[in-house]
């Protein structure tokens, strides 16, 4: 017999009703489901059921986020050594990057999953696999220098206030990972924004408490002098299109690599896990408002106005947010028509916040959260229109 099966069979009695760990049964179930499918059969017609489960749905998202995590680990190490002026081989940089990034990921999982277990025990609902995705996405949106305690607070806020108080996955109207990120952004702006948080300073391979200033592409683009153009300023600051595309520059841990986000988004769309309507809507939104601003730009306006709109897709967290955050099916609208509008408005708002509001260099986070709130309204309108076409039947 399978030893893992043996192990679970032995432990099961503690979690069954009357066992000493009975309240933590959802935890046991979640762990067992990682290794074994449920033996449960369909109670009535339809007698056979689709092989897709929520577990697999969420696991597929995590699989496509993993390349971003690996790249983020490498990039964090690479930037530290580069800033210190030292050279090192790939493995040293990966190891140093892992020491920066993995604690944040592990903390995020411990606290995110911990809250989920507590709520599932108290509220008596099964553990929903959505929390594994949130706890994976959340650390990737943070700067590498984020203090560990802030990561813990951030994911706790995201999971508890963003999700659990509304009843858990499926009932949250905000994206939990972004809710946590937004909380940190407003509660601890010093550690979350500015020029000095994107590189962990290293000396002889060790982390030291210091800061290196490095303007992100967003900061560069929003502070161009009136005489220049955003594109040349970015190129001069070392952000050529190629650099922005591959993502080897100081930025949030997992969000810098556009190419990996595109791969992730395309694969998720092929699998049908991410809605192509939302992603295409996002891109149309950015491009159309970007071009509109180009048309409005005159000699007196900021050079940011006349930046080629495609750059908006390359800089900041746009690609990561579009691929993994906007496509969260729970906080997005349910109907197809509303998803187009939802995506479009996120893209449009992202550009508007970026260009018109220098206080918030990154618009995507606020745009997504803002549209999360409007998702039910968009659904309501879409449903009303759809129902008008039905022949009444009462």
């Amino acid at each position: 017999m399978n030893p893992i099966q043996n192990f679970f069979d032995k432990q099961r009695k503690h979690f069954e009703p009357g066992g000493r760990l009975a309240p933590w049964e959802p935890f046991y179930e979640a762990m067992e489901r990682v290794f074994f499918a449920s033996p449960e059969t369909s109670p009535q017609a339809p007698h056979c059921r689709d092989s897709l489960s929520v577990q697999r749905y969420m696991m597929l998202v995590i699989i496509m986020v993993l390349p971003c995590l690996l790249f983020g680990i490498y990039n964090a190490g690479y930037q530290s050594f580069k800033a210190a002026g030292q050279s090192a081989d790939v493995w040293t940089m990966l190891w140093f990057g892992a020491k920066i990034v993995m604690p944040l990921v592990i903390i995020s999982y411990i606290f995110g999953f911990g809250w989920e277990i507590i709520f599932s025990a108290v509220r008596k609902h099964p553990i929903s696999e959505g929390v594994f995705v949130s706890a994976m996405l959340f650390p990737l949106t943070l700067p590498p220098t984020t203090p560990w305690w802030q990561a813990a607070i951030g994911i706790s806020f995201g999971v508890v206030i963003g999700k659990e108080v509304f009843g858990g996955t499926g009932r949250n109207f905000l994206n939990p990972a972004l809710t946590g990120r937004a909380f940190l952004y407003f509660a601890y702006p010093v550690q979350m924004s500015g020029d000095a948080v994107w590189i962990v300073v290293c000396q002889n391979g060790n982390r030291i408490v210091d800061a290196i200033s490095s303007a992100t592409p967003l900061a560069v683009a929003s502070t161009v002098k009136a005489s220049g153009t955003a594109e040349t300023a970015l190129t001069q600051a070392g952000y050529s299109i190629q650099t922005l595309f591959i993502g080897l520059y100081p930025d949030s841990i997992g969000a810098s690599s556009v190419v990996l986000c595109i791969i992730g988004a395309v694969v998720l769309m092929i699998w049908g896990v991410a809605s192509y309507r939302i992603i295409l809507g996002d891109i149309f939104g950015v491009l159309s408002v970007g071009y509109l601003l180009n048309l409005l730009a005159n000699d007196g306006s900021m050079p940011y106005f006349s930046m080629n709109p495609w750059y908006h897709l390359l800089i900041g967290g746009t690609a990561f947010g579009f691929a993994f955050m906007t496509t969260d099916p729970v906080s997005a609208p349910d109907t197809h028509a509303a998803r187009w509008v939802y995506g479009y408005l996120i893209g449009a708002l992202t550009v508007i916040i970026r260009v018109f509001n220098p206080a918030f260099p990154e618009g995507i986070m606020l745009a997504i959260l803002f549209m999360n709130i409007f998702a039910p309204l968009l659904d309501q309108i879409a449903v009303k229109v759809k129902l008008k076409k039905r022949i009444a039947n009462v």
Binding site: A45, R49, D50, Y57, M59, G170, S275, R390, N393
Partner: protein, 451 residues
């Protein structure tokens, strides 16, 4: 002949397709009628245990409408009446007498006299002959009030649900009865009879092909009368159409042209776990063990009477229901699969694109496993994408939970064809279809009569 293309739906790729021949099997010594499998009626028993019955004797009728009679398919004695919870009548078992096939005579209407027979006369003959159950009324799918006049009657020859009897088999040598039955329907519905079949069905007798009004193209449940009706109806006035199916029309033809209650049925047995995969010529209410012949040693097999998507579960000692004509057998699949979460799934059936089976042109392995556990709705939209009648099942479900009657009716709950596809695709394993069925039934008890 019109062509109707239905875009939504799902194609099942189950092994165990039955052969296209009808095997005549010896008559079963015990047959049964299962009152609690007939939806929307309340049976009132007219017989007691041990009482002798003839073919056509009344076994029970509906408490709400005593004209809805259900007759005995065999001559013999009442062997046993099985009761379920709250004294629901589960089965009336009839021990057949070996030789005696005596029957009650209902009188013959010759085919040339049909045009001069009045509608009322026909209806009372059908009620008397115990075949009113072959008609059901949309949207509730209950037996229609005999006084009401249907806007149309839909006759489906085949369905795309796996392993239902093929019309080529059950219409063999029966086209005369079928034609007669259709003429009766035309009288009942003032000529508005829709006869449809699958577009790919090439085995139909030529004579039947000329009677078709529509051919349907699409995947399951495109041939469900509810689906067809939804796509051809023009206004709310046509909502309460009646429907029946090809095999039942043959029964109707036999009843009126022979004057006796018809008892012959073509039953189709199929599925990956079925020991035999054939069409059987047998009697209404035949026992499953008689149908399958060999001793039932197979464990972990589910017997589904009526089909994979809409049927009910039975054990090996059960019987075929009055309306059901197919028996499907699937492996139960109740042993937990190791590392199923990470299985690329070349043989796993799915509607989504998350398994490699999308690239597999062959047949897939189906079981009765739930393939997951109950979770909250995550808004994946699979149910809305697959619904053949454009309901938004997840929204309708939420309206039902909130008891917003007007809202779920507005969402088209009554258009639901009860095909079960929404429950099938749901990754959160929410029992959408079951909830819709129950809500419809509860609403049916309270809704106003037709105007």
């Amino acid at each position: 002949m019109k062509r109707l293309k239905i875009k939504k739906g799902h194609q099942f790729r189950i092994t165990g397709q039955p052969s296209q021949e009808a095997i005549h099997i010896s008559d079963s010594p015990v047959v049964a009628v299962l009152p609690d499998k007939i939806a929307h009626i309340k049976p009132r028993l007219k017989i007691t245990q041990g009482q002798p019955v003839k073919i056509g004797s009344v076994l029970f009728n509906d408490k709400r409408n005593a004209d809805f009679r259900f007759l005995s398919p065999a001559c013999g004695t009442i062997k046993n009446i099985q009761f379920g919870r709250r004294r629901s009548v589960k089965a009336i078992e009839i021990q057949r007498s070996q030789k005696d096939e005596s029957h009650i005579d209902f009188g013959v209407i010759a085919e040339h006299k049909l045009p001069s027979t009045g509608r009322k006369e026909l209806i009372s003959r059908i009620l008397e002959g115990g075949l009113w159950w072959i008609f059901r009324e949309l949207p509730i799918r209950n037996m229609p009030e005999p006084e009401s006049e249907p806007p149309m009657i839909l006759v489906g020859l085949d369905t795309r649900e796996p392993f239902q009897p093929s019309p080529a088999v059950y219409l063999q040598d029966q086209t005369g009865f079928f034609h007669y039955g259709l003429n009766v329907l035309k009288k009942l519905a003032n000529g508005n009879v829709v006869v449809y079949s699958d577009q790919n069905n090439r085995d139909l007798p030529e004579k039947v092909k000329s009677m078709l009004t529509h051919t349907i193209q699409g995947n399951y449940p495109c041939s469900d009368p509810g689906t067809v009706h939804f796509h051809i109806k023009r206004s709310a006035k046509e909502n309460r159409a009646w429907f029946t199916n090809g095999q039942d029309v043959v029964l109707l033809g036999k009843l009126l042209s022979q004057g006796r209650y018809p008892t012959s049925r073509i039953v189709c047995v199929g599925g990956p776990a079925a020991p035999v995969r054939k069409h059987f010529q047998t009697r209404t209410g035949v026992g499953l063990s008689h149908l399958l012949k060999r001793p039932m040693i197979r464990q972990n097999v589910r017997y589904m009477v009526g089909g994979v998507m809409t049927g009910y579960t039975s054990d090996a000692n059960g019987y075929m229901g009055l309306m059901e004509t197919s028996l499907t057998m699937l492996p139960e699949g109740d042993s937990p699969e190791f590392l199923a979460l990470f299985n690329p799934g070349y043989k796993k059936p799915t509607y989504s694109r998350t398994f490699l089976s999308r690239l597999n042109p062959g047949s897939l392995s189906y079981t009765c496993n739930l393939n997951g556990a109950r979770r909250a709705c995550i808004g994946c939209m699979h149910c809305a994408d697959i619904c053949p009648v454009d309901i938004l099942p997840q929204m309708t479900y939420k309206a039902i939970l909130a008891q917003e009657v007007e809202e779920y009716l507005e969402h088209g709950l009554l258009d639901c064809v009860e095909c079960g596809l929404c429950s099938y695709v749901c990754p959160s394993k929410i029992e959408l279809s079951q909830t819709f069925k129950q809500t419809k039934a509860a609403y049916a008890k309270q809704r106003p009569a037709a105007t």
